[in-house]
Amino acid sequence: MPSLPTNFGTLDWLIVAVYMAATVGVGLYMNRYIRDMGDYIVAGRSLKSRLAVATMIGSELGLVTVMYSAQKGFTGGFAAFHIAVIAGVVTFIVGMTGFIVVPLRRLGVMTIPEFYEKRFSRGVRVFGGLLLAFAGILNMGLFLKAGALFVTGLTGLTDPGSVAVVMTVMLALVIAYTIMGGMVSVVITDYIQFVVLSFGMILTCGMAVYALGWSTIVETVAAVHGESGFNPLLEGSGFGPSYIMWMIFTAGLVSCAVWQTSVMRACAAESVAVVRRLYRWSSIGFLIRFMIPQFLGICALTYFFNMPEFRGFFFDETGSPTADPTMTLQAMPLFLFQVLPTGIIGLVGAGLLAAFMSTHDSYLLCWASVLTHDVVAPATNERLSTRWRLTLSRVFILLIGLFLLVWGLWYDLGQDLWDYMAVSGAIYFTGAFTLLLAGLYWKRASTVGAYLALIAGIGAVAGLGPVNKALGLGMYRSDEIGLAITALALVLMFVGSLVFPNRKDRLDHASWAERAQQEGREGQPDRPKRPDRKEEA
């Protein structure tokens, strides 16, 4: 890693320390509100629209998102913006139609595997829960590494040992307040983070454009990437039509309507009307969480390309971005702490570190809850008491944290972080999407079809860099493998359901849907018009 001077000073350390202490303190204080699993996982289903939007964006706009999006901007130029636009447009469409999320909220489930049991069987729930937790934990496996690279850039520390110690302390803090406060602490810390990061990032964009100049940015992208730096439809751009299709599915539909951490926000909403509004309003957040970091990645590209003394670290002899993903990940934080003045660095740095903690707490809570609620509890015939469930969730949070520490330091990335995350997540979501789609909208979907679709999804692991090489599938890109696995899961669900339909004694779709509607009405208010106006007032 290049040793660059940084503007990070004593004032910035102070800002970061105060901000971190306040965030952790608020999280720990929230423990007093936790009475049962409903409070712990979905905050008692008490979130109103604006707080739900803040926490949704706050959670999804994490440090890791910022890091991998900036990397995409660095390696793909303005063409990477198509990912952001897709994410925003698809989330808005989900908000308008209520696709997947509204029926789930009506059912009153807390997790997606819980839906599997209502629609298919307890076995599907346990198997789906295991897959979800496995893929989810693998997916967040490199969060710590991304955080470590950010801290390195932030403080100018070059000793890898020091960074590992800092990250261990950060992880310990996150684990402490997530274990104590559950979803209530997550919601409040997400809100704080939303406020700081939203305004901090808008300000940072303005300062970056002021420092570099818009025309210089455009000219540098044209010099480094050529037309492929602007046109995502070009095959040579690293994107192309199949990649765009993959993004519509992953960055669009999956990240807002199938990924458990987002669905948890929908499940925590006060009513169906709030769910719809949450998605419509959050669509701009889903867009911007990619676009602003991508733009900062482009600015980093511009900055380092025009600095001959540092160009060698980030570009090869031909002037193309280096193939080393660690360097392309580090470019954005290194750039930020060259350009931003003291004080502002502290605020942005604290916001991003809080974002790191916030993403961790949401994900730790989510996967630990899935393991407790959807794997252990059903496997013991729901005999676990509330106290045991809370204890078990807290133990799982601790174990997952320890795994992250080991995996983050050990795994060799070998591809863009975003692609790693899309592929590791695909182990779960290719199957989960099929089960949700067929389970909610196709009356003949059967338990056997559900098992087959979940098993097919495991094949997505072939898209991970090291696995892809080991299997000799180098000629296929991760997006092509992901799309093929999704199609396979859909076909297997369809064929499996037709060949092995459910027995007559299981609920048919009509009665199931009726029950779902009924549960929605009984569980929580679902009156879209008058309460909306009341809430707004």
Binding site: S46, V184, Y191, E227, F230, I284
Partner: protein, 45 residues
Amino acid sequence: MEFWSTLWAVVFALCLLVFAVVAVYVSVGAIGDIRALFRKMGRRE
């Protein structure tokens, strides 16, 4: 290339503006929602 660079410039500026408005609205409005959340959870306590 001219088309794409103009398109991304317009999209970026527009999105930043809309997000700034949403950020202000949500930041202010969510304070009331937090109060309501505490009231509701406090009552159950």
